[in-house]
């Protein structure tokens, strides 16, 4: 971690062209891995209907396991398996393997026949392939970050590794873009029938290109030097976690940086989207647009803060990002909520419209949709949608399924974009410098193993659980209010206590125990 200002620009060990190729090869591959990982989540509803019918308890169990296991449990295991491999045989070949595994399993998901065709095998195969995806993701990031950092000149590692840091956000964009494009070109019906397979199958092309690029790259210079000198670790796992000198740094990296970084990352991007969709009821396309614009606008800040961390150090930037989240999350989310809070808006009752539509379903039933549209001051529009299904003529209609959606006027739309943009800037502050911070914390011989585990525990477990724990906290507060009205003033903000507390503990540990001095990467 460099705290010193250098007058001369540090010179890279390799020429700029090679360095650019290294960054491109690593970033493109990592971006594709994120793309592969996200399309499963983005297509969760369709995959559920194809592979995990809810009326089958075994399929439902496998679906829940696929959600939790791949994101939280398997990623740290991937970090251990591939981290060890990366320290034993090299970075280049290991992150080639993770790329092949990720691409292969994504492509294979696109080929699996549905539950209707092969029954129980369908969800089982999907779960297995999803686990392989999680393992591959666990191994990829550490390899890419280590590879770039070991090429980058000292004093510029924050800047060069920050390109890797943009890939998680950009991967989400590419996945949404490919899905939307496929859906638009095929039409909604064909997409639901077979078109959803296209984004999965396309992965093999993307991975193929990335493999060709990566095969042309040489092994990292620091790893090659260690190998030539015969100084490679014989047992990276034992050296990383069995020796107190290194284990204490792994724990410091986890509790002083990555746990806080993980919750800020997930709150600013995923929980924000979930909050405006579920708590604020903002209409689906509009809510995705809001988050997409905020993400795009904030992405360059990964590089800004990564580069800045080379000059003032990683610690102040990461801790400032955590502190800002701790201090401002509640007012930000309160404002988000108020922008769509109908109880605070004046309705033009006379303008209310009711629309009723009935459509015949494939099974002979009749779906009736009643939409009541309310118009409010300032241009806000709210829709109450009630759906009922009548199995056959003369039969009792099903219990109505109610939903609400709010379409924001232009001013509120852009204010929401701004409020989420601010949160994503916090994400760039904690996430932009973290790759350089982690690689500089550990020696080359066990770097891949040592840095991957705290990263994936921080992001996969502490961060990945954010939406679930936050939702559970909101549910508890809402239930408490039902028992004793007014006992919790703003129950919709209660979910924020999880990221605030985790980031708070992490901030104090980081402030006390992290140093801001330059670390050697040549050992």
């Amino acid at each position: 971690m460099s705290a010193k200002r250098t007058k001369e620009k540090p010179k890279p060990a390799v020429n700029n062209r090679t360095l650019f190729s290294v960054i491109s090869a690593s970033s493109v591959g990592t971006l594709i891995e994120w793309y592969d990982f996200y399309i499963f989540g983005s297509l969760a509803a369709i995959l559920s209907s194809q592979f995990f019918p809810k009326d089958n308890p075994t399929a439902a169990l496998l679906s829940t396991l696929a959600t939790f296991a791949a994101g939280f449990i398997v990623r740290p295991f991937g970090a251990l398996v591939f981290g060890r491999l990366g320290d034993l045989v090299g970075r280049k070949y290991t992150f080639l393997v993770t790329l092949v595994l990720m691409g292969g399993s994504t492509f294979a998901i696109g080929l699996i026949p549905g539950y209707a065709t092969i029954g129980f095998w369908a969800p089982l195969l999907v779960l297995l392939l999803r686990l392989i995806q999680g393992l591959a993701l666990g191994g990829e990031y550490g390899g890419a970050a280590t590879y770039v950092a070991e090429y980058a000149p000292k004093g510029r590692r924050g800047y060069y590794t920050s390109f890797i840091q943009t890939t998680a956000t950009l991967g989400l964009f590419v996945s949404l873009g490919v899905i939307l494009l496929t859906r638009e070109s095929l039409g909604v019906d064909k997409f639901a029938e077979w078109g959803w397979r296209v984004p999965f199958l396309l992965s093999i092309l993307l991975v193929g290109v990335s493999i060709v690029i990566r095969l042309r790259m040489a092994e990292s210079p620091l790893f090659s030097k260690l190998k030539t000198e015969g100084n490679l670790s014989k047992n990276p796992l034992a050296e990383s976690f069995g020796k107190k000198q290194n284990l204490k740094m792994v724990l410091l990296a986890l509790f002083g940086a990555t746990a806080g970084q993980g919750v800020i990352w997930y709150t600013g991007q995923f929980y924000a989207l979930s909050f405006i969709q579920k708590a604020c009821n903002v209409e689906f396309v509009q809510s995705n647009m809001i988050v997409a614009i905020a993400l795009l606008a904030a992405t360059p800040f990964f590089i800004v803060f990564g580069g800045w961390s080379d000059r003032i150090g990683r610690k102040p930037i990461m801790l400032a990002g955590m502190a800002l989240g701790i201090l401002t999350y509640r007012p930000i989310y309160d404002k988000l909520y108020s922008l769509a809070d109908l109880s605070q808006k004046q309705e033009f009752v006379d303008a209310q419209t009711i629309d009723r539509k009935s459509t015949k379903q494939d099974n002979g039933g009749l779906l009736t949709t009643m939409t009541t549209t309310h118009f409010y001051e300032g241009g806000l529009i709210a829709k109450d949608i009630e759906k009922t299904v009548t199995a056959s003529p003369g039969a009792q209609p099903s219990k109505p399924e109610l939903s609400k959606s709010v379409t924001l006027p232009t001013a509120s739309f852009w204010l929401m974009v701004l409020l989420i943009f601010v949160q994503v800037v916090y994400v760039t502050m904690v996430y932009g410098p973290v790759a350089a911070f982690l690689v500089e914390l550990f020696p080359t011989r066990i770097r891949y193993t040592s840095m991957s585990l705290p990263y994936h525990i921080g992001n996969g477990i502490f961060g990945g659980l954010t939406p679930f724990i936050a939702t559970a906290l909101v549910a508890t507060a809402t239930k408490a209010n039902e028992v004793a009205p007014g006992s919790v003033a703003k129950p919709y903000l209660e979910g924020l206590w999880y990221p605030i507390l985790v980031a708070g503990v992490c901030f104090v540990i980081g402030l006390l125990y992290l140093n801001n001095k330059s670390e050697s990467m040549n050992e």
Partner: protein, 73 residues
């Protein structure tokens, strides 16, 4: 500052113990739930999150108390 870092080790150990108690109680309630998602979530917290947070924080606290992080200043 060195002493403060050491004394804070006790706080991290206590935080680890408290989080362990709190999360174990909560996840046992979830494991007994009727909803499948709650049950799986309860097991994930109990088997994955609790050991990492409790074990990790207690060990971290112990290292801090022993003065292991002195050299980082």
């Amino acid at each position: 500052m060195e002493k403060l870092k050491q004394y804070f080790g006790i706080i991290w150990i206590l935080v680890g113990i408290y989080v362990g108690y709190d999360r174990i109680t909560d996840s046992l309630t979830k494991i007994g739930s009727d909803k499948l998602e709650d049950r799986v979530f309860g097991w994930v917290v109990l088997c994955v999150l609790v050991p990492i947070v409790v074990g990790g924080l207690i060990l971290f606290g112990k290292y801090a108390l022993d003065g292991e992080y002195k050299s980082n200043e």
